[in-house]
């Protein structure tokens, strides 16, 4: 399946991926409105690591054998059998953080305001991950089967 991969050599650490991840999962889907008008800004669904000069963002790997899906105590975390996308049904999630315990990528973020797991859904609604679309230096790539480095 198509996933988001990072070329850390060309990441400049601008954090626009995070900004647009938040925007993409906001009510208004507009960067200014998302940041200025929403009473509670959405939790980002990606992780940014930075230790200058190296930086990169990390998104859910949508693992074939996803441990978060198998470990979820409520059944909220599911992998779509057709698309392979792993999503969290936030109506079912109780914020027990068992997925945080088992995700070897540390790619599941705690939305502590809503006490639910927050994770990359590959911008299912938009069709293309906003982090990739808005990366100014093309450090993020949306591709099938990994990238060559």
């Amino acid at each position: 399946m198509k996933k988001v991969y990072v070329k850390e050599e060309v990441c400049v650490g601008c954090r626009l991926c995070e900004v647009y991840c938040i925007t993409s999962h906001s009510k208004y889907k507009d960067v200014l409105k998302a940041y200025k008008l929403e009473p509670q800004r959405p939790t980002p669904r990606i992780v940014i690591e930075e230790n200058r000069p190296v930086s990169f963002s990390l998104q859910c790997r949508h693992c074939d054998d996803a441990p978060c899906v198998k470990s979820c105590i409520t059944g909220a975390m599911r992998k779509d059998p057709l698309t392979g996308v792993v999503t969290c049904d936030t109506d079912k999630c109780v914020g027990c953080w068992t997925c945080v315990l088992v995700c070897e990528f540390g790619a599941i973020i705690r939305d502590v305001n809503n006490k639910v797991a927050s994770k990359c859904d590959l911008c299912a609604e938009a069709g293309e991950p906003a982090c990739v679309k808005n990366c100014p230096n093309e450090a993020l790539v949306y591709s099938e089967g990994g990238i060559s480095v």
């Binding site: 991969y5 990072v6 850390e8 992780v47 690591e49 930075e50 230790n51 190296v54 930086s55 990169f56 990390l58 790997r61 441990p67 198998k70 470990s71 105590i73 409520t74 059944g75 109506d91 079912k92 109780v94 027990c96 953080w97 068992t98 997925c99 945080v100 315990l101 088992v102 995700c103 070897e104 990528f105 540390g106 599941i108 973020i109 705690r110 089967g145 990994g146 990238i147 480095v149």
Partner: protein, 421 residues
């Protein structure tokens, strides 16, 4: 082929989902003494505390059995197995024959031999019916004594506190959550409970239950007496091996299984809290009664029952548990006493955070994270993959610890799905 599964919880789901990935024709029969649609056992404390409704406790959608062509035999207990004739005997006198059998009967509560157990409002707390009975009986302002400050007692305390019940935990060890936390960690967590008025009495246990028809209190071994309207026995669980007694299926504490979840008898498998499988950290068989383990063991059993050879590398204990805003994630060996283990730890009383890593021969073998729990899975991964942590060991306690501290090659291999060269 007919596959029979005794038990209707998560190990069953793991098995059914694995089987149906490749085999849509075999018959699957699930037997359970409970009558519920498969539900989340760990949510019973949330249900008790009114944090989730009963409808929200279903673990798989309503059409799970139909969609997966599973025949259910609910409300009837399987009482014995004839492994030679390949039959399961039910309490109503019926028998069900099988080609492959999965025993996923879970655990049952440990009941201490004390006087007065037959009084009303003495509870256990592992199943839905236990939670319903307790919720019915626990009135706001009433008093409850929980015997056992382990994972079950801890979550029962939280649920009861949410109901406005005055809660006292009585724990035989010197601290609560003694199987997953050390003294520092337990002290930090205990404070959160005590700040809410939950009382914790350690180093003793119940000697006698007081009351006539109903529980009125308990007499502790230390001579102290406590009033109680409800008494919850939460000492622990043992594998529910009743159904395999008088068979040739080997049992130690639980039903012994190999790394394909097969028992000592051909065509008979076991998974979940009833099974005793390989623990890769202690390097011997052990019962690890946790939800994720049950799913994964059930899944492995499912594959092997339909002839797909998959094996389990092993499991180790891991838990994510919390009380209100105090969250903790622990895994593996968390409180070793031997000198061969190196301990790397940091406690921050202002932030109420604690991190502890247990290292053995350059491998991470366990950790405790309290409140700073984000990205805990990185560490679980290091344990599971038996990674040499030497290159980044000195950064483990960093607040921003992540892949960035790993050597570039191993980081890229992991993050880009590349093979490590």
């Amino acid at each position: 082929m007919r596959i029979v599964i005794i038990g209707n919880s998560v190990a069953m789901v793991g098995a059914v989902e694995a089987i149906r990935k490749y085999d849509t024709s075999s018959e699957i029969v699930v037997i359970s003494d409970e009558t519920y649609h498969v539900y989340s056992r760990p949510l019973i404390s949330y249900y008790l505390g009114n944090l989730v409704s009963e409808e929200k406790m279903i673990y798989r959608e309503k059409d799970f059995y139909r969609k997966n062509k599973v025949e259910t035999v609910f409300g009837i207990k399987a009482i014995s197995i004839d492994e030679r004739k390949k039959e399961v005997h039910l309490e109503n006198g019926d028998s069900i024959s099988f080609d492959k059998l999965l025993i996923a009967t879970g655990g049952k509560p440990i009941i201490p031999p004390v006087e007065g157990l037959n009084k009303k409002n003495v509870h256990t707390f592992i199943k839905m019916d236990d939670a319903k009975k307790l919720k019915e009986a626990a009135k706001p302002g009433s008093k409850a004594v929980i015997v056992g400050g382990g994972l079950i007692g801890f979550k029962a305390a939280e649920g009861l506190h949410h109901l406005g019940v005055d809660v006292t935990i009585v724990e035989l060890a010197d601290r609560i959550l003694s199987t997953i936390l050390d003294a520092e960690g337990a002290s930090l967590v205990s404070q959160s409970l005590q700040n809410d008025g939950i009382k914790i009495i350690t180093g003793t246990t119940v000697d006698k239950i007081i009351g006539d028809e109903y529980v009125k209190g308990v007499l502790l071994k230390n001579g102290k007496e406590l009033e109680a309207d409800n008494l919850i026995i939460a000492i622990g669980v043992v594998p529910n091996v009743d159904v395999v007694r008088n068979t040739s299926i080997s049992i130690n504490r639980g039903i012994l299984v190999d790394n394909t979840m097969k028992t000592s008898v051909e065509d008979v498998y076991a998974a979940g809290d009833v099974a005793e499988g390989y623990d890769m950290l202690v390097e011997s068989n052990r019962v690890v009664p946790i939800w994720p383990n049950a799913y994964m063991q059930g899944e492995i059993a499912g594959y092997n029952m339909i002839g797909i050879n998959k094996s389990f590398k092993g499991i180790f204990p891991m838990n994510s548990i919390g009380y209100k805003n105090t969250n903790m994630i622990t895994a593996g060996i968390t409180n070793p006493q031997q000198e061969e283990f190196e301990i790397i730890s940091k406690i921050d009383h202002n932030r109420r955070s604690y991190k502890k890593f247990v290292v053995k021969e350059n491998r991470l073998v366990g950790f405790i994270l309290i409140n700073d729990i984000d990205r805990a899975g990185l560490f679980t991964g290091f344990i599971k993959n038996e990674m040499d942590i030497t290159p980044f060991k000195k950064y483990l306690l960093n607040d921003d610890f992540g892949f960035i501290y790993l050597p570039k090659e191993s980081r890229k291999a992991k993050m880009l799905d590349l093979e490590v060269v």
